[in-house]
């Protein structure tokens, strides 16, 4: 029983961290209506941006996360403006293909600069905390807090600022938002900044636990898709619920499956949800 509880706790913590890039993916989908597969490389870029700030700049992990957000967000705006936006009139699928190509290109920029080696962040060594029979790593706990802060900030931004409201308006009904004078291009840039920034934070948080290399983002991308699809593509609360579901399911799968199959859990979850309830747990509609 304690083992199961431990797995549950691990799963909830992993799920909270996973929710950050999943929100990014689903937010971009909600506003721009295409699955932006380039998210993987932006997560990697964020992780490396945070890495440079942490090791060369000497920032502590929580401050380096802000750098990760800014770097990935800026690259996201640039890559979208230069590469993906001109293709959007050609349709969601063409844009999605271009996003895969963009992903490979960006991943190789990281590889060119940093090489293929695994790199670790500069972190103080800490002993795990023990609460009853449950062990929790301080770093994991800090990641959990960072993820929660990021999500709270996003919520406040979307709920209370004018720009946040404009973003939700475009996601809800682009034509109506346009009639009301919302600048769709600006909202598009903004959602890319926020979405890819969140991807960068997610990439860095995942890297803090282990190490980073040019494939860091790509390795988790399946779980990110799964979280977004399970929760309902385009729904931000859905991405959180989906991420927690996937996080717990991946950990619980360890009871029955080899650890390497954790990511396959996400794929099975996608097939399962699409068969039974295509709009996901919290999604309003499926297209």
């Amino acid at each position: 029983m304690p083992e199961l509880l431990q797995l549950l706790v691990n799963g909830l913590m992993a799920g909270t961290v996973l929710a950050v890039p999943a929100i990014g993916f689903t937010a971009i989908y909600a506003v721009l209506r295409f699955p932006n597969f380039a998210l993987a490389s932006h997560a990697t870029i964020g992780a490396f941006g945070g890495y440079v700030a942490n090791t060369a700049g000497g920032l502590p992990a929580w401050a380096a996360v802000a750098v990760a957000f800014a770097v990935a967000g800026l690259v996201g705006v640039l890559s979208d403006t230069l590469v993906l936006r001109p293709l959007r009139p050609a349709g969601a699928i063409t844009t999605a293909i271009a996003a895969v190509a963009l992903n490979i290109a960006l991943e190789n920029v990281v590889r060119f600069v940093f090489g293929n080696d695994h790199r670790g962040y500069d972190l103080p060594l800490q002993r795990d905390w023990q609460v009853a029979a449950i062990r929790v790593g301080p770093q994991q706990f800090q990641n959990l807090l960072i993820a929660l802060v990021a999500m709270a900030a996003l919520f406040l931004f979307l709920a209370f600022t004018r720009t946040g409201k404009a973003m939700r308006a475009v996601a809800d009904n682009p034509t109506l938002a346009n009639v009301k004078g919302v600048d769709a291009d600006r909202v598009g840039r903004l959602v890319n900044f926020v979405g890819m920034g969140l991807a960068g934070v997610g990439g860095m948080l995942l890297g803090l636990d282990t190490s980073i290399d040019p494939l860091t983002g790509f390795r988790v991308i399946l779980s990110v898709f799964a979280a977004a699809v399970v929760g309902g593509l385009g729904s931000i609360p859905g991405a959180v619920v989906g991420a927690l579901t996937i996080g717990v399911a991946e950990e619980l799968s360890l009871v029955a499956l080899a650890p390497a199959y954790r990511t396959a859990v996400g794929f099975v979850a996608i097939l399962f949800v699409l068969t039974l309830r295509p709009r996901g747990i919290l999604g309003e509609r499926a297209y």
Partner: protein, 290 residues
């Protein structure tokens, strides 16, 4: 090298059927390719099946996997099919890396038989194999050209251009899409199986997502919707890849990993460029007269 052009040509032809004609997307091409390669390798190495039987099994099973994926996303927008196929290719790699009892994990399966391998000189083998692959490419080309000019192909184009109108016209849209996807997956599986018998070795690392980009690049460069475009595009692709190998060899002072990074970057970037400025490819589609 021409043999590789043949593999990419088969993949581009398979992709053309679903994307070029039916407007469905498959971003996990490499997954189907790998699946076919492993099926045929296992059938011939572990079960001692003859090579044609292995290739046939690869086509059939890959087509089956395609049916499952097309059915799962049958009522959804194409984005979902993109996510599912991309996920499929990753799962194929995961299974291939971890089911060591079956696939020997990351070590890969070696000693896959090739026709007359060992009984003729390697040069002759390469020539024989090139001929075999060429026969497959010609057969797939002929088959797909027949499809393109047939009522079936016309319905697929109608579905691509407007699914609702096709449905209103009384066409069973889902059945058409599933069939197209299955045939396409079967072609990809065949290409994978042929690849395995040629290289004589398959390992999870051989099936990186980059291969999907190669095939998409071949098709879009040649001309989406046109089968000749797929074949021409594959030749161009191999030429392009060889010339980047040649060109990056001249860049001074780069470590091998940087050279590899530059080449992969160029492949990704050129796909973006083609999509942006030459979406019709070299040979734009001409709709055959009914």
């Amino acid at each position: 090298m021409l043999t590789f052009a043949g593999f990419y040509g088969l993949m581009a032809l398979g992709l053309n059927l679903v994307w070029g004609m039916a407007g469905m997307i498959n971003l996990g091409l490499v997954g189907f390719f790998a699946f076919g390669a492993y099926v045929s390798a296992l059938a011939t190495v572990n079960m001692g099946a003859p090579i044609p039987a292995g290739v046939a099994a690869a086509s059939a099973l890959t087509a089956g996997a395609g049916v499952v994926m097309a059915l799962t996303t049958r009522n959804l927008r194409g984005d979902y099919l993109a996510i599912v196929t991309l996920g499929f290719s990753e799962v194929v790699r995961l299974v291939a890396s971890n089911e060591i009892w079956l696939t020997k994990g990351t070590d890969g399966i070696s000693g896959i038989p090739g026709p007359w391998r060992g009984r003729v000189t390697p040069e002759t083998f390469n020539l024989i194999y090139l001929a075999i692959v060429a026969v497959f490419v010609v057969a797939a080309f002929w088959l797909l050209e027949r499809v393109r000019h047939s009522p079936f192909g016309r319905v697929l184009r109608a579905i691509r251009d407007d699914e609702q109108i096709a449905a209103v016209a009384g066409k069973p849209v889902v059945a058409f899409k599933v069939q197209a996807f299955a045939v396409s997956a079967g072609i990809l599986g065949t290409a994978g199986a042929l690849y395995g018998h040629y290289i004589s070795y398959v390992a999870p690392d051989s099936f990186a997502p980059l291969i999907t980009i190669y095939a998409v690049l071949a098709l879009t460069a040649g001309g989406t919707g046109d089968n000749r475009g797929a074949v021409v595009g594959a030749l161009l692709l191999v030429f392009f890849m060889e010339s980047t190998r040649f060109a990056t060899g001249w860049l001074p002072g780069l470590r091998p990993v940087q050279v590899a990074a530059v080449r992969e970057f160029l492949i990704g970037a050129s796909l973006v460029v083609v999509l942006r400025w030459r979406p019709g490819g070299l040979i734009p589609e001409r709709i055959p007269r009914a």
